[in-house]
Each structure stands twice: as structure tokens, then as C-alpha cells.
Symmetry: D2
């Protein structure tokens, strides 16, 4: 079944959703069930969190990975989660169907080489000041090691207007597609940092031709240990999934569903 969910590209639209960070068993399981019910194809959630300050919550680490594995088993959703340290790649790959390399690590070359050597698709997020060129070269580090399942992710670049946390560069979608065959997904949650921008920008990403979305969902955003202001409530995520379904249909795409079957191979 996992194969379906991780089958990016062609006419498929893959929605990955879940909390920014794994905080508690209850928080993760309730979110996982909610996003599964709403039609997400993968569960996202961080066990290792790269945080600006060492005083911020750094994630649950191995205990978080265990919770992710439990949530995956309970919902049938494969898990995508971030790996920060080249020494953790194997351990994270044991619990997750897909590995995320975060924007701060887009040019962490030892990490890129390490994820290039495991049998897991890799979600590679664009650095906050990285050009399209640099993102594609970073992907080359992974591809060069033998792992061909790289999914590129636009998640906003650094800019001057404090109105949004980052500036989501949706034109990166057609530009990347003109230069590479790798699937391209968009993260409107980090890309704007504002809950009220997530739905419009998720729609816009699909309209721009994205192959998938990465959406943060939290049952109680105001209590979140990380990035609460950008998390959707489960019910808002459900409504978004209905919009995305219609929009995808109009554009000749179909949203990959947990129960759906397909002969496609990933990505």
C-alpha cells in the first residue's frame, strides 16, 4: 500500500499532513487519525527538530520516532520525518517511509550523501536563500549516491516583508519542472507562517502545478510547542482537502488516497 502513497508525479497529487513536531502520543494519534480521515496520503511530524535556539523544544528524538511508527500502524499512513544528523539516517529510515532534509540542511553535503545511500524517498526542502540552481545541485548529491527518489519542496525564501514569515516562491514550481523531472511539492505552512494564508496558498500551489503539498495540522495550535501560528485545525484541513479534490479534478489530477490502488512506481 505504501507504494501508492509515495507515488509522486504524473497525474497524482500527494498531500502530506500532520503536526510540526511530535509532542505527545495523544497529540500525534489524534492528528494522524484526523488527517487520514481527511484524505492525506502521508503523515508528517518531526521527532528531531532543528530550532533556532538551543532553548527551544528540540523534539522527542527516538521516542518521537516510536510514536510515529505507532501512528503509522494505527492509520495505515506512511510517515515522512526529518533527519538532521548523518549518524541518524539509518535509525530514522527504520521508522519512516520517507526522509526529509530540511531547508537548513539543503547544503549539508554529508547528510545529502548519507540519505543518498538508503532505500527511502527523500523530501529535499529548498534552503531559505537557495537558488533553483542550488536546489537542483543539492539534489544531485543525493542522486549521485544512487537514490533516485528525490522530491523537491518549495517552502518559502527569506525576504524583507515581515507580513509573512517567508516568501513562498510558487514560480519555483514551473521553473523546477522546466529543468528537472523530479516531483515538486509545496509547503504553504512554513512558506507563509500564517494560518490564514495556508489555504489560499495550498490552492495556488496546486493551480501552479505542484505534485503535492505539505501541510501542518495540530489539534490545538495555540498549545503547539512549535510553529502553532501556521497550523490548521483538523476541520480546516478537511475543508481544504475537499477544495483540493475539486481543483485537482479540474486540472486533470487526482489526489492520492490512503485506500487507493495504482500500478505506478514511486516517485
Amino acid at each position: 500500500m505504501t507504494g501508492d502513497h509515495l507515488a509522486f508525479g504524473a497525474d497524482r497529487l500527494v498531500v502530506m499532513a500532520g503536526p510540526c513536531a511530535v509532542e505527545t502520543r495523544e497529540q500525534l494519534l489524534s492528528t494522524a487519525h484526523a488527517v487520514a480521515a481527511a484524505g492525506a496520503a502521508l503523515l508528517r511530524g518531526g521527532a528531531y527538530k532543528p530550532r533556532t535556539s538551543p532553548d527551544s523544544f528540540q523534539g522527542l528524538g527516538p521516542a518521537g520516532l516510536e510514536l510515529l511508527a505507532e501512528a503509522s500502524a494505527a492509520t495505515g499512513l506512511p510517515v515522512v520525518t526529518e533527519v538532521l544528523d548523518p549518524r541518524d539516517v539509518e535509525r530514522v529510515a527504520a521508522s519512516a517511509a520517507m526522509l526529509q532534509v530540511g531547508s537548513r540542511n539543503m547544503q549539508n553535503f554529508p547528510l545529502l550523501r548519507e540519505v543518498g545511500r538508503v532505500d527511502r524517498p527523500v523530501l529535499l526542502k529548498r534552503g531559505a536563500a537557495a537558488t533553483i540552481d542550488e536546489l537542483l545541485h543539492a539534489a544531485d548529491y543525493i542522486l549521485r549516491e544512487g537514490n533516485q527518489r528525490v522530491v523537491l519542496c518549495e517552502r518559502g525564501v527569506r525576504a524583507f516583508d515581515p507580513a509573512t514569515r517567508y516568501l513562498l516562491d510558487l514560480a519555483a514550481v514551473p521553473v523546477l519542472k522546466s529543468r528537472s523531472d523530479l516531483p515538486v511539492v509545496v509547503d504553504p505552512s512554513h512558506g507563509t507562517g500564517r494560518r490564514d494564508c495556508v489555504v489560499p496558498m495550498a490552492r495556488a500551489a496546486v493551480a501552479a502545478g505542484a505534485d503535492g503539498l505539505l501541510i501542518e495540522v495540530h489539534p490545538a495550535p495555540h498549545e503547539a510547542l512549535c510553529d502553532g501560528p501556521q497550523a490548521l485545525l483538523p476541520e480546516d484541513f478537511s475543508a481544504l482537502m475537499r477544495d483540493i479534490d475539486t481543483l485537482a479534478g479540474m486540472l486533470g489530477r487526482r489526489v492520492v488516497r490512503p485506500g487507493s490502488r495504482s500500478s505506478a512506481t514511486a516517485p
Copy 2:
């Protein structure tokens, strides 16, 4: 009839299209007929062109205004055109249904005051390094003079990646709508500078909630005196209009058509 075309906001979607610059009578009329046939609501085209270098084509000036008036009469499309100099506002207002203040002039306060005193809606483009806050304050300069018909335009901000000419900030659409009741339109032609990005970003703008689009169309982009690389061919614009129609319908909007009637008042 003009009223209909200039009725921005609510469920209406207003598409303004035409060449970057008025070059010749033939170029303008053929483009005007093409965009009218494809369903544009306004004809755009510059008679006064703000160009980085004094050696570049600066527009036809008054002769360009006359050609715009002729094209408007021939097609029934009202005209939106840029005014650069506070001393030209009256003259331009005599030929155009809507005045454009370009991004380089977003904080040209004497010009803003002058367009605030004429009976024409104003298309105010965001400066390439302007925050949302600054754009709204610039609009205040116009509103303060009595002219309430201001339409805000996102057209890309300056950023670091040469892959696109500017970085189109589509999140500006929901952010502006959370802070103002003014209509918001998007210019994906200047906002990306790449023909292959115009269609995806036009769709994305509509999906993000924009009230209109500003699209450059040229019958022979490679011969254009200004911004050829970002101009659509008339047939590509026609195809885009069909997409936009479907997308607008899905989002509960309708594209304002030249022949359509409505009781709405502008904007």
C-alpha cells in the same frame, strides 16, 4: 458599458491584457482585437514607459494615447495605461478609463496625490521592495485626496534568484485582503518575466483569491520593443482565458466579459 468592466471585487474577476508598450497602430489594434475576442475586460498598453536606461524605447507618448483611444473605440474595451508624471495626469485621464501607477512610482507621492484628484480608478502596483504596509500607505495617499477607486496590484518583488525576473508574492493576496477592502490583482507577466511561468502563475493567482489579472500579450513577442520574453501569444492568452473561466467557476467567481451587464458599481 465601461462600468461593468471596471467593476472589481465581489465575485467578479477582471482580466486586463495587452502589450507592454504601444508600438504601432497595427500591433496595438491586432492585440486589442485578440484580447477582446478572448474575453479580456480591459485593454492594457503603455504610452509612457518607465525604462531603466534612457537609451531604451520610452513609449510613443501622446501619439500612443491616441492609438489607445482608437483601439478602445474599435473593440469596446476600456483602457488602462500608466502615467509617470504628475503633469500628465489630466491628459492621460482624457484617453484612459483607468490610470496605472507603476511599481517604480509606488512612493512618488506627488503623483499619488494627483491621481487621487481625478475621476478615474487607479491601478497601484506594489514597489519591487515595498512591504504590504507601505503599499497600503501609498494607497492612503490616493484615497486621502478623495479618489476611492484604488485597485492594488502584486507584481513581484526583488529577490536573489536570477531564475525569474522578480519573485511573485502570491501570499500578498490573502494578506492584503485581511487588511483592506480594496480589490487585489496580480501581474504574473512582470512578476516572473518568463512566458512559461505566466500561465501557471495566472492560475495560481486566481486560486489564491485575486480579483483580477494583468497579462501581457503581443502578436510577435520576439520583436517586442519592451519585455518580449514575458509576453503571451494571442492564442496562448485565449487558452489561458478558458482555464481561468473554469477555475473561476469552481471558486464561485465569474470572469467579467466585454458584453456582460451588471448592476455593480466600481470598484
Copy 3:
């Protein structure tokens, strides 16, 4: 005598100082005497102020020009002041020895053409998102009209770190000098927006090869109607002038003094 002060270039270092805005007769005269005593070559001060919001103090206009003329007569310092509107160029030129085109107007081409036609040197400030190329092309608009006395001013570009108001690009000094013979001055007051950065960056600008400085000085910065947080107190400006003197000497330059005589022609 004015000729000396406006003699930019070669081994001369020209310091222009004064308040951001002309507020009152007393404020202007006391500042003018203080900066003259400290060794400034020109008095700066705005009568027409380009402000982000129409609710902010917009300057005293013609009354401000009169006060500037009075302060110039009282101190012997020629005045540099900003002109915003092409229709005001003649009037401002009647009161000021040098005209400033502000960063918001760097690509206000009608204004550039107008200041290109008067017999006054022009201080052209780089736009907050303008490339070096665009600054040089903007200067071309002035030069093309016949006015060869253009002085370029680096005053910070827009960037992502709120720690400073703008990002002062001192490398622009050597880059501009490699591409043009026009004098280059630096404005560390607007370029950082922080009083505690003005002195270090003024020194750095001289060390980088700048031909002059533009420094904001106010007798009571916390009461300033405009940009108080970046204004130096007169005594801090005096101390800075002593530093600059030593630094200039070390670099083979000499600070142009009000009473000094020179055979040089401006700029």
C-alpha cells in the same frame, strides 16, 4: 566659496550634515551652527519629506526652504535638500546649492530629467532595491539632459534582517568607482537606522574609499519629527569629524572645510 564645498572627488572628502527634516527655525539654526563648527562642508535638511504614510509629518515645504536659505546665510554652508516633484525643481534650486533625489525617486524619470536641466549638482540616492546598474542608468537620465554634476549616494538596500533598517552596501563604493567617474558618497544614517551604527559605518565608508558622507544630526533626537533613532547629537558628530580627519589623512585625503580654498571645480 560654495564652489569649494561642492568640489567632490579627487582627494577631497565632503561631509554633509544636518537634520533629517527642517522642523523649526531654532532646531535648524542650532544644528547648522553645530555642524559648521564641527567642520561639515554642506548643510543637509529636508523641506519636502517623502513619508511612507500621509499621516506622518510631510515637511514645511516652501517655509522650510526659506529657513534653509537663512541657515545657509548664517553659517556660510551651502545647502543640499531633497526635491520630490518635477514642478518644484526650479523653486528648490533657488534656495539650495545642491538638489537631492531621494531613494524612492531614483527611477522617477520625469524628476531626473528635470534636475538634469538645472545648474545645480545633484545628489542621487540609490533606490532601496536598485542594482548598481540601475543606479548608473538613473544617473544617465540626468547626465543626458546636460547636467554633469551628479554625485551618487549609497544609502542601504532592503534586506531581511530587522536588526538594521536597511543594509548598507559599502562594496557599492569600489564597484561604482570601477564603473564610473562620478563621486560616490555614503549615508550611514539612513543606511543603518541606528545611532550606534552611524559612527562605525561612517568610518568604514571613508576606509572603503567614499568621497563623502551624509550624516543626520539633531539637537534632541528623541523629539525629532523624522528618523530620530538614527540622528547623532552635535557633540557625537564633532567627535566623528575628528576621527574622519585622521582617517582621511591616513588615506591621502583631506576633509573639505567651510573656510578652505581650492582651485578645484565641482564635482
Copy 4:
């Protein structure tokens, strides 16, 4: 002896110089002797190179470390070199007196923690899109592990003007000093990417209050495997050192010399 060279702060000015990458024994030794003769306090040179593309020269690795150790022994200059991988920290610390964390790794938190646990001062370069705040928080990750010898390095941020490779933010020097007691050095070579900007910006950095400089020197820049366009020739570096000496004297600082003795403790 090493202690002297690594004694940053107070009235000392520490110049680190050498090639971008260790390429050959001959290249490294000739450069090392040249920079030692000119008065550099440390030899810089990369054995592990973070390169945008996997096709670019990646450094000599362990063989490069051996050459650095040899050059250090031959010249008496301690070595500062970059470490990319947390698994290499011990190995690099065995050959180098000071460890560099490059700008791409400023938020590579596992690496920061690892260099926080060794007995070597750490040169932490600001990320190309990092705020001052984020740089200080990154330093916290190192300090938190027990290593108090952190030296901050401004090396240019990403900006929009292709005239320079990065935009060197010299105001970061006074801003960092207002917020931290850690020494601050500047890298005008990476910070501009242009040989003709290195000397002016090195002087400017000292004038702005920097505690040191990081300068790339190569005996044949046009043959360099990495960043040739920004490398100084040895003779140009010698001339720069004479300038810096004079400038430092004027500012009440003294350049730390290989043969000098001091009771100071690092940093």
C-alpha cells in the same frame, strides 16, 4: 605560541589568510610562507570543501589536513580549517588549531554541538540568509556544550545585485558587538567575491571595529580550483597588511604578529 595568534578581542586584530582550498603541497606551502611573511596570524585553507555541485572539486580531505599540518610546522602559523561533518570533528581538531563552521552549516545543529565539545576555538560564519539573532543563537549551541571560544564571522548575505557575489553587511560588526562579547571577524573575500573589492572592504571592516579578517590569497588565482576571482595575489596581500597596520594603529589596535608575545588568553 599558538595562544598569541588565537588571542582575539581587546585591542588585537587577527588576520587569517591563505587559499580557499588546499590544492597541492606547493600551492599551500608557497602561500603559507607568503602570508606568514606579510604578517598573517593564522593560515586558512580548506581540506573539506562544501561545494554547490558534486561535480566541483570537493577538497583533498585527510591528505589536505596533512598538508595543512606540514605548512603550519613550516611557518609557525596555526591553522584554521573547515569541518563539514560531525564525524570528522576529532580528526580535523587533531590537525588544526581552530575549526571553522561554514555559512552553509551555521544551523547544522549536530555539527555545532560537536565542535562545542572539543578544545579548539571555533570560527562560526554567518549563514547567507541568517539574521544577527540567528547567528547568536547558533553560537549558543556551541557555548552550551562548554566551548566558550567562539569567534563570529560576517561573510556577506544573499541579496539581489549580481554586481557582487554576496552583500557584505559591515553594520553587523557594531550590531553584534552591542549584543555579545564574542569577537567578530569579517571575510571580505567571500563577502564580495571580487578581488577589486577585497582591499577596500578589508579596510572598511577594520574601520567598522572588526577584531580580525579572513582573506583568501592564492599564488595564481586564475588557476585556483575554487573561488579564484576573489583571491588576492601574495604581493597584494602584503600591501593590504601594511594598510591594515596603519589603520589599526589609528584605531588603537595592534595587528597580532606571528613572532609577537602576549599574556592574553584566547579568545
